[in-house]
Symmetry: C2
């Protein structure tokens, strides 16, 4: 190697609260790599030698390397060592021709594709669970269970429902019993089940108020099941309840995202929450609270779920493990306190069959019960906070023409503008650069034109490095809107 790896990292300077030795080591190593002091595809020092040089345990170095691998800065080749990633952003150095040949070959075998699509689809989480011991133990326990000779009960396995009720109480301030929980195959399945139950035998489609802008996928589920989504504008962080009350009824339900409005962000203020409950009481409609990503708050503290208010059973909370674990898992839940509505939901489930494997339910019970999920969330929340910082930093000078929203919680952000060009062309330009984001205008529907145009993108799934690359591309693509 031409230049030696800087072994004299200093770790003990003014630690931020909540920062440990590992976090500091990760930060220093990140800086070394980004500064080009260790070049793409070059080997890092052995864990033993770096540990000795820096004065930390070898386990700390191993953990730091693993975290950097998760972020995309390095690649761990079992049996060979740890190497700086091949696809570093332009800011860092180009591949060094002086790299030891053996190591370079090993590396090439391990990580080949030079360019891949960076998925910034809103709502995809970071899920490095395949390296999580508690995760693997939970599945091992589940696979050991004797397989019952009947399907899981329509509401789900009792122990899983109990674990979900505990999680909701701790994470969302919602006091509930296991009996109030219905296990689902994710938010769409939960919403679909609810629409089925509300629709019942009625031959004309029920009407469901939904936010505009809002989740396109939720509206699609409602329409596909023969019900009618009715657009209600968003104002001050959530559905405009005055406009809802003025809309011509009847409504079977209103679907809202009060904790973190999708896609614009914001929290529905308490007076609006109370007005919404009052509306529900007067009209007999159900409030469907889509609590899709409220486990993560970065700035303002979280408001408890509407379902935690004295709602007289009028609120149904739609929860998902897609954001806290992975959308690949296909698991979520409904909180339905009203006995009669829950009976209708369970009757529907009984007839159409329960979709969630008993093994999945038991494994997740274990992962929740033992605190594995809680610890996982603490870890990923730290990563999200870091990436969120990157987003804020990279987009600061786009203001005031282009506004950054939704960054106070969850896993996505929007960059939007009031006039100017359409957003689909920006999305297409980014797709050509290998960066997948969603157009804001597709979240609007109804008779009026979208108020704002822009892009919606997630920062949960990409590695730090991918996010940096993607943010560069986003800045380039937004240049025409900037002035």
């Amino acid at each position: 190697m031409r230049h030696p790896f800087p072994m004299d990292l200093v770790l003990d300077a003014e630690r931020a609260p909540g920062y440990g030795v590992r976090e500091h080591l990760v930060e220093q190593l990140r800086a070394v790599i980004l500064a080009g002091q260790a070049r793409a595809t070059e080997p890092l020092p052995s864990t033993r030698s770096l540990a000795a040089a820096v004065g930390v345990s070898r386990g700390t170095v191993v953990a730091a390397y693993e975290e950097l691998a998760g972020e995309g800065y390095v690649t761990i080749v079992p049996g060979s060592g740890t190497f700086v990633a091949a696809d570093l952003p332009a800011a860092s150095s180009s591949p060094s021709p002086s790299t030891a040949r053996g190591a370079a070959e090993t590396f090439t075998r391990a990580q080949e594709p030079p360019r891949r699509t960076i998925n910034l689809s809103p709502g995809s989480p970071a899920a490095p669970l395949h390296r999580n011991h508690e995760w693997k133990v939970a599945w091992r326990e589940a696979a050991r269970r004797e397989l019952p000779d009947l399907p899981p009960p329509p509401a789900g396995e009792a122990e899983f429902r109990a674990a979900i009720a505990d999680h909701l109480s701790a994470a969302r301030g919602v006091q509930c019993a296991a009996n109030d929980i219905v296990v689902t195959a994710g938010a769409r399945d939960g919403l679909g089940l609810l629409v089925h139950a509300l629709q019942g035998d009625r031959s004309t489609g029920i009407r469901i108020a939904t936010e505009s802008p809002g989740h396109h996928a939720s509206r699609a589920v409602i329409s596909r099941l023969g019900a009618i989504p009715v657009p209600i504008p968003v104002r001050d962080g959530g559905m405009d309840v005055d406009r809802l009350a003025d809309a011509s009824g009847p409504f079977a339900a209103a679907l809202v995202t009060p904790s973190h409005q999708y896609p614009l962000g914001g929290r529905l203020p308490v007076p609006s929450r109370l007005a919404l409950l009052k509306w529900a009481k007067c009209t007999g409609a159900v409030v469907v609270e889509d609590d899709y990503d409220s486990e993560f708050r970065h700035g303002a503290p979280s408001l408890p779920a509407i379902a935690s208010l004295n709602d007289e059973g009028r609120v149904v909370l739609v929860g998902t493990l897609s954001k806290t674990v992975s959308p690949w898992l296909r698991c979520g839940y409904l909180l339905v306190r009203d006995d009669e509505l829950r009976a209708r939901v369970l009757e529907t489930r009984e007839v159409l069959g329960h979709p969630v494997s008993g093994i999945v339910q038991i494994a997740l019970s274990e992962f929740l019960r033992t605190g594995g999920l809680r610890r996982h969330l603490v870890r990923v929340a730290r990563e999200y906070a870091h990436r969120r910082g990157l987003v804020i930093e990279a987009t600061a000078d786009l203001a005031p023409r282009i506004r950054l929203d939704a960054i106070e919680g969850g896993l996505h952000a929007t960059l939007s503008w009031e006039n100017g060009g359409p957003d689909e062309s920006v999305v297409e330009a980014l797709a050509r650069e290998g960066v997948e984001v969603a157009p804001l205008s597709a979240c609007y529907y109804g008779p009026t034109e979208p108020e704002r145009r822009g892009i919606v993108f997630g920062y949960g799934a990409p590695t730090d490095l991918e996010l940096r690359t993607a943010l560069d591309a986003i800045r380039d693509a937004l240049a025409p809107q900037r002035n």
Copy 2:
């Protein structure tokens, strides 16, 4: 102990083909227990001493004890030994007071409830997979996978679809490609998905021909999704295709169980199969082949699935792993060869969300790919053949008034009569005895009265001992219908 365990078991007398040392040992031990030579809750000899006495390997004795445990004759208490089960049928001896106290206490802790419901619900399989090494390995592999940040594709994971296509080709004679497979959360989910896709945006319910008698659950799915099930009588082992052709259309589909008619048994003859395909071609309807339990044939060989004929893509096969693995698993598949119909199915899936966890799909891919499922099916098929023998033996003298049907394949049988009392009262009487069966009359629907009444019961899930007990209860309950 008052009486010594008969260690002088003879194993080498005239072995039936396909019978090995273990099978003979199991048979002899079963006989010893049923004859009362080893009494309820008493310990069996240690595996070491019995192996030495009989002249077989210790592993053979361990395997035999495990098989007997699966059948309910014995209970294995890890660290203590193997004990004769507490709830033996009356034919065998009552609990012995002379049992060594320590062993009895250990035993009581391990197996307490003296009486439990015996589940003879049709279609429940034996699933001793929690003792299957390959099963546990498959889940371990799946839990190690990196969790993708997107849901599984609408059709399911590619490697799982490939494994299912191979299984269908080997087990059902159906040549198909991975691309023809759509992963489902079981047969009901598959049928529901298909009904959704066929129904599309039509505001009036599509009509689907179904067998009467037939699966109540299938009809319920069809109705619940706004489509209309139309009853077509069963004749000669399946749907009466002449009656179908005469029925006033239009039909979007005909749902049939041609390999093992549910609930009466029988196979749809080849001329009827061809007539059904011709009907489908003329009317543009889809043939939905519910292939719910055709992996198991006991007497007559299996006919390949209708989907294996030259069907011009008109047949959709609905498959499930509920019978081959467990209904607790919630997994199945559709085989849809027609590109346009498959596109509609996938569009529905895309909108409503895929319900089957990626982890489940990967674990099952592994279990199929490595041959674990095939070996499991060979093992349980042997158990089913044995239990089927018990059913035939126990019901032989009920003829001719009461007829035993459906026993040539699958996991269930019917006992039915033409005149005489209603069947619901028999089902209720059995429920009071702790034996769960289903009434045959509930399988019929439509304007005409049921031709036959009777009971439908499964023999897959219960242990041998439970089945013996249940068959005694069934004989008692049917006494009034017998003459």
